[in-house]
C-alpha cells in the first residue's frame, strides 16, 4: 500500500484526531455558510414552479437528502470492505459513525417525499419503484445499526456489521433492479412521473448549493461522531488503566 493515497497513515487514532480537529471548523463553517446561501436561494431566490407552485421547494431538501442517503451507504460499504480486508482500525469506527447519519437522511428523504407526494400526486405513499427501494435502503441501514449494537463485544458488532454492509452494497443494485421490474409488472396506476421538463438553471443552482451544504454537513457530523467514539475509547482505556 505504498501509494500516494495511503489511508493507513491515518490508522493512528491520535493523528486522525488532530486532522479531524483541524478539519471540523472548515466543515461546519462551510456547511453553515452554504446552508445560509442555499436556503435563501431555495426559499426566496428561486422561482416557484409553474405547475407545482411553492411545493417545489421541498425538492431542495428532498433531493440532497436522497443523495446523502445513497452516498452514505456507498461509504458504509467502503468502510466495511476496508475494515475486513485491510483491518483498518478506523474503518470500524467510521461504519458505526456513518450508519445512523445515513439512516437519518434516508428517513428525511422518505418523509419529505411523502409530504411532497401529497400535493403533487395526491397521496402520501405509492408503491413506486423509487420509493420502495428507498424504503428497503432504510431497512438495510436499520439492520446495520441493530447488528452493530447487538453484541456485548463492541468490536464483534462492528465487524459483523461490516459484513452486512458489503452484502447490502452488492444487493442494492439487485434490489433496485428487481423493484423497477416489479413496478413495471404491476403498472396499472396513473403515470406518476414527475420529470416533466428538465430543471431550469434558476432551480438547479440553489439545488447544487444545497447538495454541497448537505455534503459538508454529512461529513461534519460523521467526523464529529468518529472523534467522540475515539475519545470515548481512549477515556475508557484510561479509566481501566487507573
Amino acid at each position: 500500500m505504498a501509494t500516494a493515497f495511503n489511508l493507513h497513515r491515518f490508522a493512528n487514532p491520535g493523528r486522525f484526531l488532530r486532522l479531524a480537529s483541524a478539519l471540523l471548523p472548515w466543515l461546519t463553517g462551510g456547511a453553515a455558510v452554504l446552508f445560509a446561501i442555499g436556503l435563501y436561494l431555495a426559499l426566496v431566490g428561486s422561482p416557484p414552479d409553474y405547475q407545482q407552485g411553492d411545493t417545489v421547494r421541498i425538492m431542495y431538501i428532498h433531493v440532497p437528502s436522497a443523495w446523502m442517503a445513497m452516498m452514505g451507504y456507498a461509504l458504509l460499504g467502503a468502510a466495511g470492505a476496508s475494515a475486513l480486508i485491510w483491518r483498518h482500525p478506523l474503518a470500524d469506527v467510521a461504519g458505526e459513525a456513518i450508519a445512523p447519519v445515513g439512516a437519518g437522511f434516508t428517513f428525511v428523504a422518505l418523509a419529505t417525499g411523502a409530504l411532497w407526494g401529497k400535493p403533487t400526486w395526491g397521496t402520501y405513499w405509492v408503491w413506486d419503484a423509487r420509493l420502495t427501494s428507498f424504503l428497503v435502503l432504510f431497512f438495510l441501514y436499520v439492520g446495520h445499526i441493530a447488528l452493530t449494537h447487538a453484541f456485548d463485544d463492541r468490536q464483534r458488532g462492528r465487524r459483523s456489521a461490516a459484513i452486512i454492509a458489503i452484502v447490502g452494497l452488492i444487493n442494492l443494485p439487485i434490489i433496485k433492479y428487481s423493484v423497477d421490474w416489479w413496478n413495471t409488472l404491476h403498472q396499472s396506476e396513473s403515470i406518476l412521473r414527475m420529470d416533466g421538463p428538465s430543471i431550469h438553471p434558476a432551480m438547479l443552482w440553489p439545488l447544487f448549493v444545497m447538495i454541497a451544504a448537505f455534503t459538508l454537513y454529512f461529513f461534519a457530523v460523521v467526523v464529529t461522531r468518529m472523534k467522540a467514539m475515539l475519545l470515548e475509547a481512549r477515556h475508557r482505556a484510561a479509566a481501566f488503566a487507573r
Partner: protein, 222 residues
C-alpha cells in the same frame, strides 16, 4: 467431499431425530397463513386474490424464524470450533449447513404449501407456478438466512434481529417468485424472464453467501 457429506448427514439426522422441530416450522407456516382469513374476511374472491402472496410471504417468515438455531447449538457445544479447525473449509461447511436447512425446512414447506393454498382458495392453475416459485425461492432464503444466522450468532436478540437483517435482502427473491406466479396466470403471460432472474439470483447467492457466512462465523469464533 466426504466431510461435506458427513456434515450434511449429521445435520439431517439431528433434525430428523428432533422431529418435532421440523413439524413446528410447518405448523407455524399453516397457523400464520390461517390468520389471514380472520383478518381480511372469509370472502372467497378476496382470499383468492392474496392466496399465493400469503403462501410466499409466510414461507419466508417460517423459514426465517427457524434459522436462529442453525448455528446456535453448534456454537454452544463447541461443534462449530471443530468445524472451523477441521479439514473442510468453513465456506463449504456453511454451504452444507444451508443445504441441510433447506432440506429440513424448505422441502417440508413445499409439501405444506398446496394445503395452505387450498385453504386460501388459490386458483387451480396457480399451484404449479407457485410450487416452482417456492422451490426456487426457498434455497435463496436458506442461503441468505444462513448468513443472517452466522452474523447474529451470540447476539442479544438473535431471531428477531436476523429477520430484520435478512428481510430487506429477501425483497428481490420475493418479487421474482411472485413474478413467476403472476405472469403464469396472465393470458399469454411468459414467466421465463422471472424464472431466469430467480435462478440467476440463486446462483449469485450460492457464489457469495458461503464466503460471507464463513467470514461472519470467524467473527463469532474469534
Amino acid at each position: 467431499m466426504s466431510a461435506f457429506v458427513a456434515l450434511l448427514r449429521r445435520d439431517l439426522v439431528l433434525s430428523y431425530r428432533q422431529g418435532i422441530d421440523a413439524w413446528v416450522v410447518v405448523l407455524f407456516f399453516l397457523a400464520a397463513g390461517i390468520l389471514f382469513p380472520f383478518a381480511i374476511g372469509p370472502e372467497p374472491n378476496a382470499l383468492m386474490r392474496v392466496s399465493t402472496g400469503v403462501v410466499l410471504s409466510m414461507a419466508a417468515l417460517a423459514a426465517l424464524l427457524s434459522l436462529d438455531r442453525l448455528y446456535q447449538n453448534d456454537f454452544e457445544d463447541g461443534s462449530l470450533d471443530l468445524m472451523a479447525l477441521g479439514p473442510l473449509p468453513l465456506e463449504l461447511a456453511a454451504l452444507a449447513k444451508a443445504l441441510a436447512h433447506w432440506l429440513s425446512t424448505g422441502l417440508p414447506l413445499l409439501v405444506a404449501a398446496p394445503l395452505l393454498a387450498l385453504m386460501l382458495n388459490a386458483p387451480a392453475e396457480s399451484y404449479g407456478p407457485m410450487l416452482l416459485a417456492l422451490a426456487l425461492a426457498t434455497p435463496a432464503l436458506s442461503l441468505l438466512g444462513g448468513l443472517g444466522a452466522a452474523l447474529t450468532l451470540g447476539s442479544r436478540r438473535g431471531g428477531i434481529l436476523l429477520t430484520l437483517l435478512i428481510l430487506p435482502l429477501y425483497v428481490p427473491v420475493l418479487i421474482f417468485a411472485a413474478g413467476i406466479i403472476s405472469r403464469s396466470l396472465l393470458l399469454e403471460g411468459d414467466p421465463t424472464g422471472a424464472l431466469l432472474l430467480l435462478c440467476g439470483l440463486d446462483l449469485g447467492l450460492l457464489a457469495i453467501t458461503p464466503w460471507a457466512t464463513a467470514a461472519a462465523l470467524r467473527q463469532a469464533l474469534r
